[in-house]
């Protein structure tokens, strides 16, 4: 097994062209902090040497960086100007038990978005441009460095969440936002899941611009407010008042508690399979109920459920009838996933996905099986 560590986009294209000519599969790696879909077969192509921020215009709220640039570098560069990536990407290392350095390319390939997704959009919403090399070695550019761009078809979003199966991302542009000056959490305790989701959806229906709504496993219900100090103080008070019927809320200053929500710290180091379930918020309690006794962390006002289950448990079967999808994010060390990692798609959608794969990776050499592993028929 060879390891390719190209230093620039042309070298990436060269590696792919050679692999294509020889029909050899390539396992595409960013920082290797999450291994959804397993390690992958074949030679490893890592983007870790494609580094550097190529453009940063704080006054235009835009940053462009090469795929292997560590997220920490992005964070610190933006922080120096009081800005940040608003979609709050998680650091998966605690949950997956892996080391490695989270990178821009890996984050984009997995469309990683944290608690603020429900207010500021996902990673895919904040992407404004992309460069990638597809499975035929074509270097392709889409979008650019401006935040409003409808010129031609939107391949920027196509690449978000494509897990290295349509092309190797080499550079990405993002819209960034001002980092909030102040943060407060309005916290309710003692709520069951149904009541917690009712409180969270009620909060999202206020004009107070809630930027996080989460419910800890059998724990607190948390609502985040961000912005200038005076504004945050006013809204925290107003929100607590609006949620009076759910109990006496405590107001906690500072952003710290949200790192644990973002990184799903509650399940770090615990045995079992971890699933990420996406449903409409009011279906959150139905999911929790259908999973019986499993520990569940609810984010996105109830629309994102992280569940810790027995690895043998057929979660998708248990959730039949609830619209949405589930992704298997972690299996126990040294165990092969018993279930397909990605949710099976309805036939017409799967046909379109296969069509895209056939266009951008006709030989099927990029992360083969990553998103299209054969799916057993549901029992």
């Amino acid at each position: 097994m060879a390891l390719f560590e190209p230093n620039d986009e042309n070298a990436v294209a060269e590696v792919i062209r050679t692999a294509q000519a020889e029909a050899r599969p390539l396992a595409i790696r960013g920082g290797g902090t999450r291994v959804v879909g397993g390690e992958g077969d074949g030679d490893v192509l890592t983007t870790r040497n494609l580094t550097g921020i190529t453009l940063y215009e704080p006054g235009a709220l835009t940053i462009v960086a090469r795929a292997g640039t560590p997220l920490d570098e992005i964070r610190s560069t933006l922080a120096a100007e009081g800005q940040h990536l608003a979609f709050e990407p998680m650091d998966a290392r605690g949950l997956t038990g892996r080391d490695g350095t989270p990178t821009v390319g890996g984050m984009v390939a997995a469309n990683v978005s944290g608690p603020r997704r429900l207010q500021a959009g996902a990673c895919r919403d904040c992407m404004i441009g992309v460069r990638f090399v597809d499975g035929t070695g074509r270097v392709i550019r889409n979008g650019g460095r401006v935040m409003k761009n409808v010129t031609g078809l939107d391949l920027v979003r196509m690449m978000a969440g494509s897990h290295g199966t349509l092309g190797v991302i080499t550079e990405v542009g993002f819209k960034v936002l001002p980092e909030p000056a102040a943060t407060a959490t309005v916290q309710l305790t003692g709520l069951d899941v149904t009541t917690a989701v009712a409180a969270m959806t009620a909060a999202m229906g206020t004009p107070f611009d809630v930027t996080g709504a989460a419910h800890q496993p059998r724990g607190a219900t948390m609502l985040r407010l961000e912005g200038f100090e005076g504004s945050v103080a006013y809204r925290a008070g107003a929100l607590a008042k609006a949620l009076k019927k759910f109990g006496q809320a405590e107001i906690i200053d500072g952003p710290e508690a949200w790192t644990d929500i973002r990184d799903v710290t509650a399940f770090a180091g615990k045995d079992g399979a971890v699933w990420r379930i996406s449903v409409k918020p009011t279906d959150g309690p139905r999911v929790v109920e259908a999973l019986g006794g499993a520990d569940c962390l609810l984010d996105w006002s109830g629309g994102l459920v992280w569940a810790l289950t027995d690895p043998e448990f057929d979660l998708r079967a248990a959730l039949t009838g609830i619209p949405g999808h589930a992704t298997l994010m972690r299996v126990p060390v040294d165990a092969a996933p018993k279930w397909p990692v990605f949710h099976p798609e309805p036939a017409p959608v799967a046909a379109l996905s296969r069509g895209l794969k056939a266009k951008f990776d006709p030989q099927g050499i990029l992360n083969p099986g990553q998103m299209d592993r054969p799916v057993p028929e549901p029992a």
Binding site: P58, G59, A60, L61, T62, E81, L118, G121, R124, D125, R138, V139, I140, R141, N142, G144, R145, V146, M147, K148, N149, V150, T151, G152, L153, D154, L155, R157, M158, A160, G161, L166, L177, P178, T201, G205, P207, D209, G227, F228, S231, Y234, V279, K280, P281, W300, G303, L304, P323, T327, F342, H343, E345, P348, L352, S353, G355, L356, K359, F360
Partner: protein, 477 residues
């Protein structure tokens, strides 16, 4: 503007095609009379017209399926149409096409405040989506200028924006799901009331695809609770450079206004004489609006005014009442009407990096003078989306062509400084032939690959988006 030769064999089969469509649709939903078809010969890019073979107005997804199956089997091109407000010719017919208008599909299917979504048929107008929920304090954020008339179908096709994108994003950021019919009649559902896609982001591909991939019949849209209040401040400067620097400083200070609008002197003067909004006669005018509770508005305006003062404004007017706020917006909102009174105009839509603003405005003036034309600039400065209005006289032979040539030069300038051809109007036919200025052969080929997957027979919305020579071998295959 070159369009492909219409297929004479299809035109010869008009009666047969109309008969097949009439068999699956009510009488009033099939339009084939030549006089009545005039209503569909163009969209808001009125310089180009061509009556279609016929037009159909389905009332349901099922009817759209039947129509597309017939057209697919007959090999007839289909041009989907929302309300026909495209400024880029996105709904321009060909003589051998069927216009598929979604105007009769305007029902609200579901309103769900707990999950903050509304599900509508896509013929519903943008403003009437907000109209459906505003009684309960909610709104749908994307607000293109044409929002009174434009349909959600067209908003999705063009990934429409509006004045408030800086805070709320464009259509793709507010669209959660679609029901769509492919050219062969297959119904596909993408997304829903949940927040992310399980596999490839096909929803992201469909949004902004200009009717190239399928006909979207239903949409699940994000609705938001209205802020408690909003207030604008009007700031006038004696140079575009200073106004541009002020915009950049506001953004860098961590304030995120809901809108930053920029008007230059020709635009200010036209608006003032039209709307009598009390605008000062200055080189550059900014309207900056913030939202929130009274306390929040105060807090943000204080910062903005502080920054504006440091740049020595000629005029700075804070609104202190609803009436004053309305007056500040009155001139801006009248901009397009005001221009229409003065002359015919072409409205461009290029986007540039915000920091290039002064340079680009200067270059636009130079280009305009070299053509002997006039341009007024009004645009969303916060996100760099420019709307230069090129004024011309349609009755003067050759002047439209001159205005189009200037427009192309201005758009090339936008690309040259790192921007793009279109920020929110779409490519359509208008900017189709400029695509190679922004994208290389591989970049275009990759987009065409996606079209191949969704519409392998290349029957949907022909001769748009992709330069004709690039798409030729697909279209005639």
């Amino acid at each position: 503007m070159r369009m492909p030769e219409p297929d004479a064999a299809i035109i010869a089969r008009k009666d047969q095609i109309v008969a097949r469509l009439s068999a699956v649709l009510p009488d009033e939903a099939v339009i084939f009379d030549e006089t009545e078809l005039r209503a569909y010969e163009c969209d808001a890019l009125t310089a180009y017209r061509c009556p279609p073979l016929c037009a159909v107005l389905p009332a349901s997804t099922e009817e759209v399926v039947e129509i597309l199956k017939i057209c697919h089997s007959e090999g007839v091109p289909v041009v989907p149409r929302g309300s026909g407000t495209s400024l880029a010719g996105g709904a321009l017919p060909t003589a051998d096409c069927v216009i598929l208008g979604v105007a009769r599909m305007n029902q609200v299917l579901e309103t769900d405040y707990d999950n903050r979504v509304i599900r509508v048929q896509t013929g519903r107008t943008n403003l009437s989506v907000t109209g459906e929920v505003e009684g309960d304090g909610f709104f749908y954020a994307p607000d293109p200028s044409s929002q009174l008339a434009c349909a959600i179908a067209g908003n999705i096709a063009m990934n429409s924006g509006g004045a408030h994108c800086l805070k709320y994003g464009v259509t793709t950021n507010n669209l959660l799901g679609v029901k769509m019919v492919l050219m062969d009649g297959t119904v596909v559902e993408l997304g829903g009331a949940h927040l992310d896609a399980p596999g490839y982001d096909l929803l992201g591909l469909v949004c902004g695809s200009e009717g190239q991939l399928g006909v979207v019949t239903e949409a699940t849209l994000r609705i938001l609770k209205k802020p408690e209040g909003a207030r604008p401040v009007l700031i006038g400067y004696d140079s575009n450079e200073v106004a541009g620097a002020c915009v950049s400083d506001i953004i860098r200070a961590g304030v995120l206004p809901v809108a930053i609008e920029f008007m230059d002197r020709p635009c200010i003067r036209a608006c003032e004489s039209f709307a009598k909004a009390g605008y000062p006669d200055v080189e550059a005018l900014l309207i900056v609006e913030v939202e929130g509770s009274e306390a929040e508005i105060q807090e943000q305006l204080e910062k903005i005014v502080g920054i504006a003062q440091r740049h020595n404004p000629v005029e700075l007017r804070e609104s202190s009442s609803e009436m004053e706020s309305a007056l500040i917006w009155k001139g801006r909102k009248a901009a397009f009407g005001a221009m229409g009174q003065i002359a015919d105009y072409i409205c461009l839509d290029g986007t540039i990096p915000v920091n290039e603003l002064p340079h680009v405005l200067k270059r636009i003036t130079e280009l305009t003078n070299s053509y002997g034309l006039r341009v007024a600039n009004v645009f969303h400065a916060g996100d760099g989306n420019m709307h230069p209005l090129i004024l011309y006289n349609a009755n003067d032979p050759g002047e439209l062509e001159k205005a189009e040539a200037l427009g192309a030069d201005i758009l090339r300038l936008c690309v040259e400084v790192g921007g793009c051809l279109t920020g929110e109007h779409g490519v359509g036919v208008e900017k189709r032939d400029l695509m190679p200025d922004q994208y290389g052969p591989n970049d275009l080929e990759a987009q065409i690959d996606v079209k191949d997957v969704f519409d392998p027979s290349w029957l949907l919305n022909p001769a748009k988006v992709f330069p004709l020579n690039v798409s030729e071998n697909r279209r005639v295959a």
